[in-house]
Amino acid sequence: MALTGLQIYKLLPKTNCKECGFPTCLAFAMKLAQKGTELDKCPYVDDEAKTALDAAAAPPIKLVAIGTGERAFEVGNEVVLYRHEKTFYHQPGLVVRVKSDDPQLAEVAARVADYEVERVGMKLRLDGLAVQHAGGDAAAFAAAVAAARAAAPGLPLVLMSGDPAAIDAALSGGAAADRPLVHAATAANWQAMAGVAKKHGCPLAIRADAGDLAGLVDLSESVRGAGIEELVLDPGTTSLAADLAAFTQLRRLALKKGARALGFPIVTDAGAVTWQAELARATQAVAKYAGVVIIDHLEPAAVYALLTLRQNIYTDPQKPIQVEPKLYEVGAPGPDSPVLITTNFSLTYFSVSGEVEGSGKPAWLLVADSDGQSVLTAWAAGKFDAEKIAKTVKDSGIESRIDHKKLVIPGHVAGLSGEVEEELPGWQIMVGPRDAVDIPNYLKNVWGA
């Protein structure tokens, strides 16, 4: 766990020699605590202090990378229990499972690799494919993994088998180059499984019996003793209640108790018989601390919902996703095209511009600087009032580009229309729809699109 400035100060020589560039050892310690300088700047610090500081600097939940190349993903290194305390940093990997004897395996692998959906200007994708050993021997499993790799080159993999020989065969067959997650070492197989993971340099999942955290600690100590550093924890739970209890306890133990053995990301099998039940489990896992979420259904609607949820939950609460406040042209607007105003929250912008574009009616879209807040939130916070709307209009230079003086304000701030008219003499203020989805109808009915 991170040390305070005073705790660091106690480990320093306290001679105030100034060679580090700071006036006192205390000032240096304070800067170190803020991670604003390096310990190496002190020529006199002893090894004991170095070890203590290094240990304290290690993240409480280790960052683990799965896969290689452009599609590799990293999970872990989280520092809070609740996103409002800071933010959640590393989005959980969303992985679709296919059984090794599934005749559709190659097709599923390709669909997972190709799935992509765009939201607020970002491309959202699935993170990987889990190949579960089902039927057949080690060679059959290795062949299935090879087929998946051929169908989806570069897609990160999770290799799921209780048989270390099967994992070894798949990794030796070339999969090791992709750095897949090996799933899983258990109390029964850990020695052989750790040996295989170490031989091929792959991250390793350890799995205990349902919710047995003590068993997980023992396994963690064992495999780390065998030289494995990149671990992922599978608490082996199979119900929503048990998942939530285990994930919460793991996160608390890592962050609040500094439990090194449990300071790793979590992998969970959210698979269920129906896609709906699976969606409910995966939703909880995304909101509550999972690092890798394995699902069975490649149902596009559910995948889209999960990717959107992940984007929502992992958005920094202090930094809403914003677009540049300015005058945007949608289509090729002319002097008689409508002028719409909205805020610079990216979701608001993309919803409005998408609908205007979809309507086929070119328009001027004025985006006010609302510190990235949506229309209603910005209005409530005084960041999208009549004055701001008028200033945005005046500063944009829109007046010289149109031959009318009509401004469409969002329906949610209909109550502002009188005030805006006072602030913008000569302008006619029109009230647009409350929801972006109703813009095409509005443009058609009122502006003749």
Partner: protein, 321 residues
């Protein structure tokens, strides 16, 4: 074996218990619904008590909604034309509460009278035995007019009346106070505004055991994370003992999820979005589950399939808790 000491938070506070239906005697309900009472974060049975699981309400509208998603129209069919039939069907689909919205009283959507509103409420009360939530049309004058009439005509039914907002709560609170009902206090996704409105309502002497709070729901992809974090903060404050944050929370999940493009568009959307038949329910279920994790005590849903999925999920979450 290594012993692992599970970190357990000791919370000094608890969420208030609030009962809808005929909890105080009188009325005609055949069941009551009690929510709240939690002494831990959601579903952490190892840490505290969760005496009541979140309740599932289904939204019913007094007049046939002409602008609802085709998916909802397909699911409810002709029941949408008759609030009494619709409510009865919702109960058959698993609703523990009916949230009746008097939208037809809105000046722009029919401008029905207070007498009409009373008649509709009476018909729904006669059609189902579960407790009712009654939501006004959403304009201050008309809300006051119809909700007062409904409150007086249904004394003893212990309805939850809404929505109380900072700019319009006095008349509704007074009507609830005089007729044994509850109120729903809605504020725009903000911890302090939520507290402030609870204080104002409490100042009018309505016991806080008769107040639900609606933190204002943002749907998946449309501000869900704001609602999620405000609810987490409200629930943490409640457990830490802040009396004005200890109201059970109600979330209008159905309304928010189904009005988004994802819940409505059947064509001209990317293939990656999937079909509307799955997408609409996926959007509602994901929004609902996320808010359940943040402490939602009542979920107001729209699609019967979502009710089933949520009921199973809540069974699973409260198993052995």
């Amino acid at each position: 074996m290594t012993a692992v000491e599970i970190p357990v938070e000791k919370w000094p506070g608890a969420v208030r218990e609030v009962t809808l239906g005929s909890g105080y005697g009188g009325g005609t309900r055949t069941s009551t619904v009690t929510v709240g009472g939690e002494t831990s974060l959601p579903f952490l049975g190892f840490e505290g008590a969760l005496p009541h699981r979140p309740a599932l309400a289904v939204e019913v509208v007094d007049t046939e909604p002409g602008d609802w998603s085709p998916e909802l129209v397909a699911a409810w069919g002709d029941d949408l034309k008759d609030p009494a039939k619709w409510a009865a069907r919702a109960v058959a689909e698993g609703a523990e509460l009916i949230a009746l919205k008097l939208r037809g009283c809105h000046p722009d959507f029919g401008d029905r009278s207070a007498t009409d509103a009373r008649a509709t409420v009476d018909r729904v009360l006669a059609a189902v035995g579960v407790p009712l939530i009654v939501i006004g049309p959403g304009t201050a004058d008309k809300d006051n007019e119809v909700l007062v009439a409904v409150a007086e005509a249904t004394k003893g039914e212990q309805l939850a009346l809404g929505l109380c907002e900072e700019k319009n709560y006095r008349t509704i609170v007074a009507a609830a106070l005089g007729n044994g009902h509850l109120v729903i206090a809605q504020t725009p996704i903000d911890v302090n505004l939520a507290k402030q409105l609870n204080i104002l309502i409490s100042d009018m002497r309505l016991p806080l055991e008769r107040v639900l709070m609606d933190p204002n729901t943002g749907a998946l992809g449309y501000g869900l994370e704001y609602t999620y974090s405000v609810m987490e903060r409200l629930r943490l404050a409640a457990l830490m003992g802040d009396a004005m944050t200890q109201q059970p929370m109600i979330c209008t999940v159905g309304e928010e999820s189904w009005r988004q493009k994802e819940g409505r568009a059947a064509a001209d959307v990317p293939a990656a979005w999937g079909a509307l038949a799955e997408r609409g329910v996926a959007w509602e279920v994901t929004t609902a589950m996320t808010l359940v994790e943040a402490g939602a005590d009542i979920l107001v849903l729209r699609h019967p399939s979502s009710v089933g999925v949520l009921r199973e999920a809540l069974d699973d979450l409260t198993k052995g808790a």
